[in-house]
Amino acid sequence: MIVVINYGMGNLRSVVKTLEKAGADVLITSDSNEIEKARGIVLPGVGEFSKTMENLKKLNILETLSNSILKGIPYLGICLGLQLLFTESEEGNGSQGLNIIKGKVKRFVNNMKIPHMGWNQIKIRNKKCKILEEIPDNSYFYFAHSYYAIPEDKHVIVATTDYGIEFVSIIQKGNILGTQFHPEKSSELGLKIIKNFCQLVYR
């Protein structure tokens, strides 16, 4: 069972459907017992950093989520789901994140339009990452965000994307994966990323 964490925001339907298409059993939940039993965890991200952290606290799942990730359960964080792994974010005046990956989340300040919205390419920095199986370099994925993560440990960087600056668009640290883009909204190649994640869960 792969759980998709529901913290009361936005569209979960697309991510659930892509996981099901990839052959996964999926449960949408905000119940810590279910999260504890899960073989894989997906945290899709829309919304604001500090409010989402608050929501996760209110739902009493912050600790369980953190423990499961640290225990080695495959985790896929999408967009905000990637950013929440980090130490802190500028969004909401220095809110604390899960601090599982050391680093900061910053707002774009270059002279580009914000949000960074639309299809952009990834530059693969770590070809060995399983999530990128059969994904060509320079492939396009769908982004919709105003903040980006800066990891302290550069070894976690799997891919980067150019938007005035080069920012991190995929990270991996062992069982922990994160994409700044939305694979569930990125057509065929996005589905492939979701499939690759499912294979890591069910291998």
Partner: protein
Amino acid sequence: MLARRIIPCLDVKDGRVVKGTHFVNLKDAGDPVEIASLYSKEGADEIVFLDITATIENRDIILKIVEKTAEQVFIPLTVGGGIKGIKDITLLLQNGADKVSINTAAVKNPKLIKESAERFGSQCIVVAIDAKKNVVNKNCTWEVYINAGKTPTSIDVIKWAKTVEEMGAGEILLTSIDADGTNQGYDIELTKIVSETVNIPVIASGGAGTPEHIYEVLTIGKADAALTASILHYGKYTIKDIKQYLKNKNIPVRI
């Protein structure tokens, strides 16, 4: 590099697509789900549904369509038309829309932009602006119209564009009422001035008749994306044709 987007817009009335049903290879040419799926396969970067259902009783139909589309089409889906408040937005997002486009309700109550952006994130709040050239009043070169382009507001488009950005809109969908339906090209001047005024993406709409028109609005007009309707619906050009044309002219597109 960030690609420029080509976004087909489908007018949906009581659950059926009312324009652009001239496809030969569809089982049901009026079915929004099937048309959205076809456009996605052809390389559309997003899909917009504009719900032009007249009666309140039939408003739930769009939710079912959104739900079905989100289960089959894995590119971003924006829904506009008749959105009155937070409740409508919540329902659309829960049923599988990624963004909502607000127009009249935003003009009547600009706080709705702020409230919804804070609640759901700016990235899913599109403000649609219908603009018409005003030849009489020199202080208002383009005027904002509401109620599907029927009612003038005496609000200046450029000022309104700044306001919606400040309120937290993630994108502006800018339609030229003058150009809409003409197939003679976008209002380049309008698009350029709005795009230069705000620091959020601008989607140009109204007037596309050829790939060259799209090229013009993305370059001279500085639009981040182009909304297209009849140019695609009547089979004159496919999304592939348009994107290939743009690529040949060195515009970054996702092919």
